[in-house]
Amino acid sequence: MQENYLAKWLSGELSEKELAEFKKSAEYASYQKLKEVSSTLKAPEFDVDQALTQLKEERIGNAPKVIALNPFKKFLRVAAAIAVLIAGSYFYISTLDESVTTQFAERSEVILPDNSEIILNAGSRVSFSEKNWDEKRNVTLKGEAFFKVAKGKKFTVSTTHGTVAVLGTQFNVENREGFFEVTCFEGLVSVAYNNIETKLPAGSSFMVINGKIVDTTAPNTSQPTWVNNESSFERIPLGYVFAELERQFNIEVNSQNVDRNLLFTGTFSNTDLNMALKSISTPSRINFKLEGDNVLFYAKKTP
């Protein structure tokens, strides 16, 4: 006999041979009787329609209210998510630093929260934290800027070359590729360069060209000359002069057979390109050719 043969017999799934064998067994009559009687059993009465009416009246009558609330719940969920996002981004943005950037041939004036002033030369960028200004007066500078610092706590200018710290003064910081110059016009400025601190009294400069500290003569003006639309140079390699020319007029400067390390002393106008080109070429005994936004400086030897 196969497994669960009683169940198979009841559902009529036994093979004829198995059925015959089962019929011969002693207990077959008992099972047959059980099968017959159990088929006459009945479950208690259950009135389907009455139960359905009861269900609808007593229980489901309340259900639609629950369903109607669902869209509102969804709306609340979305609203909460948006609120969190807005609040989050507000706090994120408010911690970001303020920053001002000037393009080539552009200048900008920045007023700091304590009324200190920054005049930003062409192709430069300053950034500072407006939120933490009261705790820490610190600006990060790329490029060149003139600072008029209101009296107060220590004011620091962070650059890639070094850090400049002051109390309240006017000073210029130029931080270019391979070139770092700090000029103090009023008060006292402290410059930390390669962990060496240098104190700059009013009317003195600190200059580093290609990693070397270079002596410079003191400026005889009360402001950097570029503030008055002139760029002045005191024994500065021609290469840096060309770079400044590029920034002030937003042009491209190339040179041919010109010694870019030749020291240049002089001034060029930041408003008149032709005058500026002459101011550079004449004392250096070189020629220039201007084509659109391109300037080529070349030595006199070449025709």
Partner: protein, 165 residues
């Protein structure tokens, strides 16, 4: 689209299944009142979750909810099933025969009450509601083989009890 949330679909599911759900719980726990409540409970749950339950899944959902409703509550209660007696309309039987029949039914009732719950449910769903093993397997969430096993054991136990072995 057929959706359980539509009243017509829901009503037809109720009409097709409520009686079996009622019996199923009754066979399990032997309590008529609780079986009524279980039907109400199961269909209210179905209505509340009508958007999530597909019409073709509604059936097994109902049995699961119904049996879970009283899973812990009635376990301890002693099952006392009473089955509506088949009406003995055949009057030309002798009184002795009728007495023997009555006695047999008494024995059967007792034997059924003593069966394990899952064997009794399977046996009665098949005998009273005429459910195929496959259908019972679906309701109980087990294999057909398991239902056959329960049926086999139920038959064996019932005969042994009735015959006094």
């Amino acid at each position: 689209m057929n959706n359980v949330c539509e009243e017509q679909v829901f009503s037809s599911i109720f009409k097709a299944n409520s009686k079996t759900v009622f019996n199923y719980i009754y066979y399990k726990f032997g309590n008529e009142e609780k079986a009524h409540d279980a039907v109400q409970e199961a269909f209210v749950k179905l209505w509340e979750n009508c958007a999530k339950v597909l019409p073709e899944k509604a059936k097994s959902y109902l049995y699961t909810v119904a049996s879970n409703t009283y899973l812990n509550v009635i376990k301890a209660e002693k099952v006392r099933l009473k089955y509506a007696k088949p009406s003995l309309e055949i009057s030309n039987e002798s009184p002795e025969f009728l007495l023997v029949e009555k006695e047999y039914q008494q024995k059967l009732d007792n034997a059924l009450n003593n069966l394990p719950e899952n064997q009794r449910t399977t046996f009665l769903l098949n005998r009273i509601d005429g459910k195929k093993y496959a259908e019972i397997a679906e309701m109980e969430g087990v294999s057909v083989k398991a239902i056959e096993k329960r049926m086999h054991l139920a038959l064996k136990a019932l005969r042994e009890q009735i015959d006094g072995i």
